[in-house]
């Protein structure tokens, strides 16, 4: 799925020289799991648990969320004993801009229609790239919006708002 770099392919081909000590990843992932589990336990605190014969709607949620909290704690403990501390490098620009582009599509499609929503989404999304070519961008956005409008709105006749109303 993602472009592999040299080391990935080598790692897939040969056994890794040493087990990668990634304590930071374990701790952060453990924190995430525990937080989500705890939140689920809190939100579902009133769900009826029931018994094994008649399980209530809260039976599995509590078991699953509890398990998630437990696993998160185990992962955090494992992370603390691991050697090495290298938190993953996050590149925020594409993450923020791509999310924003999708959210803008969701916010505009119903009222402004396919053409405008496409135009906005592509314009915002295209800025997420490593090198943005400003002269190219309007043509890419217009071209894609027009293409999708014709394809989905007119050729395939999918029922969706095409123009602002």
């Amino acid at each position: 799925m993602s472009p592999l770099n040299d080391s990935d392919v080598r790692a897939a081909a040969a056994p890794p020289e040493t087990a990668q000590a990634s304590g930071a990843n374990d701790i952060l992932l453990g924190l995430l799991f525990a937080a989500i589990g705890a939140a689920a336990l809190f939100i579902g605190r009133d769900y009826v648990f029931g018994s094994s014969l008649r399980m209530g709607p809260g039976f599995l949620p509590r078991i699953v969320a509890g398990g998630l909290v437990l696993l998160g704690i185990v992962l955090m403990i494992r992370g603390m004993f691991a050697r090495g501390w290298a938190p993953p490098a996050m590149v925020w620009r594409p993450i923020v801009l791509i999310s924003l582009a999708v959210i803008v599509f969701s916010a505009t499609i119903d009222r402004l229609g396919l053409f405008v929503a496409s135009l906005l989404t592509v314009s915002i999304g295209a800025c997420a790239g490593q090198e943005v070519r400003w002269k190219e961008l309007p043509f890419v956005a217009l071209g894609l919006a027009a293409f999708c409008t014709i394809l989905f709105g007119y050729l395939l006749k999918i029922s969706m708002p095409v123009w602002p109303r």
Binding site: P16, L29, L53, M55, A101, V102, V122, C148, F152
Partner: protein
């Protein structure tokens, strides 16, 4: 026997109709077209192209989707060989020796090997499905809630054991997936769980939304944050054929790969990837000259490619026979069926014989088309590979948004996709495998329902899972798979194969 021949004849009759052949061809073509574009896997391809199938008849739509899936898979292998860019996880292995062959000027041979091995595997498994499905339907009749539950548990256990990286993180992914699957109204009582008072969430979150976010959108973000693309230099094509020696080396590997892939693909949670890794490991192990692997051994292309296609195809079995989608691709197919008003269930073969057998026969046609499309058009695919990602990703992004919106005409779901994209990036950065999460998300609600029914049947006695023979057998299989993890030999092989 005559029953099988009859069913197959019915299927081939349906699949060979002009319109079905056309949609099969179209699906395979578009699937390959999108699949060769770097950075788009089969799931994203299917979700993007889902709207194209809405206006078709159900049979046509499913045949086209199946074609898209095969096409996308094959497209992935093409980029793996030519550029060392696996389109998806199951062609990671093809990169190793396929790209090495390409570097030695044997790209054409590698591609032809991949196409022929895939076609062979596809043919064998199509026959296998046809032969096995009456027996499977019979077996499905014996499946009660306890058996369903145990089978799905086996799927989840297998997904952990065969996942990439740390098993503990995979277990976490499973729990998170189960929790996400619980969102929505409780089937038995209608009680809203984790819906945050949003009416859109009462039916639960759609599989397409989850997989599109985790695989489609997150993939774009990861690709864009990945620094300069680490792809190998593009290699030149050579003659698209195999010499006699190539054939001799490739066919036993193909045979073994087919068997292995078909077997592992049936397992829920297995699918195509597992088979390709296992096949590569086995070919390397039994070879007299293991040092050639990684340097362009043709067995290293033929075996995994056969296995991955066999697995892709046999993963249809649990869905067609039991109504259990074993991986996210199958869940996507099940989603498409539901859109057309067909519930995937064990009765599919008897209630919709045309659709069932037509789909199975069209798998063979799909594989044949791939052979016909890919070998002559390979020059075109190579040109497409040259398209810079900077031009591609805005289009992928937009198609993803439109694809999701059209499923339910729901803007809310598009917003959810952004959320899952974010989750996908964070989890991927923290090296948490995503495939088990999606599988647990798909199987979770079905497991809950069957668990409750089993408990009602047994009056709350959990020993029902041990007292019914099929269920007991499946649970023993779970224990055996877990035991694999404790074996040092398996652990080493697992680390070697999956620690990517």
């Amino acid at each position: 026997m005559s029953e099988i021949v009859q069913s197959l004849a019915l299927g081939f009759g349906v699949a060979a109709s002009l319109s079905n052949l056309w949609y099969c061809f179209l699906g395979a073509l578009i699937g390959t077209l999108i699949g060769v574009l770097p950075g788009i896997g089969p799931i994203a391809t299917m979700a993007m192209l889902l709207p194209l199938t809405y206006y078709l008849q159900p049979t046509e739509a499913l045949i086209m989707l199946a074609g898209i899936y095969y096409g996308a898979q094959y497209g992935g292998s093409t980029t793996a060989v030519l550029m060392r860019l696996p389109g998806e996880s199951s062609s990671v292995v093809t990169c190793l020796d396929g790209y090495a062959m390409a570097r030695k000027g044997r790209a054409g041979t590698a591609l032809a090997t991949a196409a022929l091995a895939s076609f062979f595997a596809g043919t064998v498994v199509t026959l296998l499905i046809a032969i096995a499905s009456p027996a499977l339907t019979e077996l499905a009749q014996k499946f009660g809630p306890a058996e369903y539950f145990s089978l799905m548990a086996l799927g989840l256990v297998a997904a952990v054991v065969f996942a990439q990286g740390s098993p503990l993180r995979a277990v976490g992914a499973i729990f998170l997936g189960l929790l996400l699957g619980l969102i929505g109204a409780d089937v038995n009582t209608g009680f809203d769980r984790f819906t945050f008072d949003r009416p859109e969430l009462r039916d639960g979150i759609g599989v397409v939304v989850v997989s599109m976010g985790l695989f489609g959108i997150a993939e774009i973000m990861l690709n864009l944050s990945g620094g300069p693309e680490g792809q190998g230099e593009r290699t030149k094509l050579s003659r698209l054929w195999l010499t006699k020696e190539d054939f001799r080396a490739a066919w036993p590997a193909t045979l073994r790969g087919t068997g292995l892939g078909a077997l592992l693909g049936v397992l829920p949670g297995g699918g195509a990837m597992l088979g390709s890794f296992a096949s590569y490991a086995i070919e390397k192990r039994i070879s007299d000259t293991p040092e050639r692997f990684g340097e362009g051994a043709i067995e290293g292309v033929a075996g995994p490619e056969a296995a991955n296609n066999a697995g892709a195809q046999s993963s249809f079995i649990p869905m067609l026979a039991l109504g259990i989608p074993g991986n996210s691709v199958m869940a996507m197919m099940a989603g498409a069926m539901l859109i057309h008003g067909i519930a995937p269930s064990p009765n599919l073969a008897s209630t919709q014989p045309q659709l069932f057998w037509g789909l199975i026969a069209s798998m063979w046609f799909g594989n044949f088309m791939l052979l016909v499309i890919n070998l002559p058009l390979i020059g075109l695919w190579v040109k497409l590979l040259a398209a810079p990602y900077r031009m591609l990703f805005p289009a992928i992004l937009l198609f993803c948004c439109i694809g999701i919106y059209t499923v339910n005409n729901s803007a809310f779901e598009v917003g959810l996709v952004a959320l899952f994209g974010l989750l996908g990036v964070v989890l991927a950065k923290l090296e948490c495998p995503l495939a088990p999460l999606v599988l647990a998300f798909i199987l979770g609600p079905m497991m809950e329902e069957n668990l409750r029914r089993a408990m009602l049947l047994s009056r709350g006695d959990p020993s029902i899972f041990l007292s019914r023979p099929i269920s007991l057998g499946l649970l023993i299989a779970c224990a055996l798979v877990v035991a694999l993890l404790l074996m040092p030999n398996f652990r080493r092989a697992r680390e070697a194969a999956t620690e990517a």
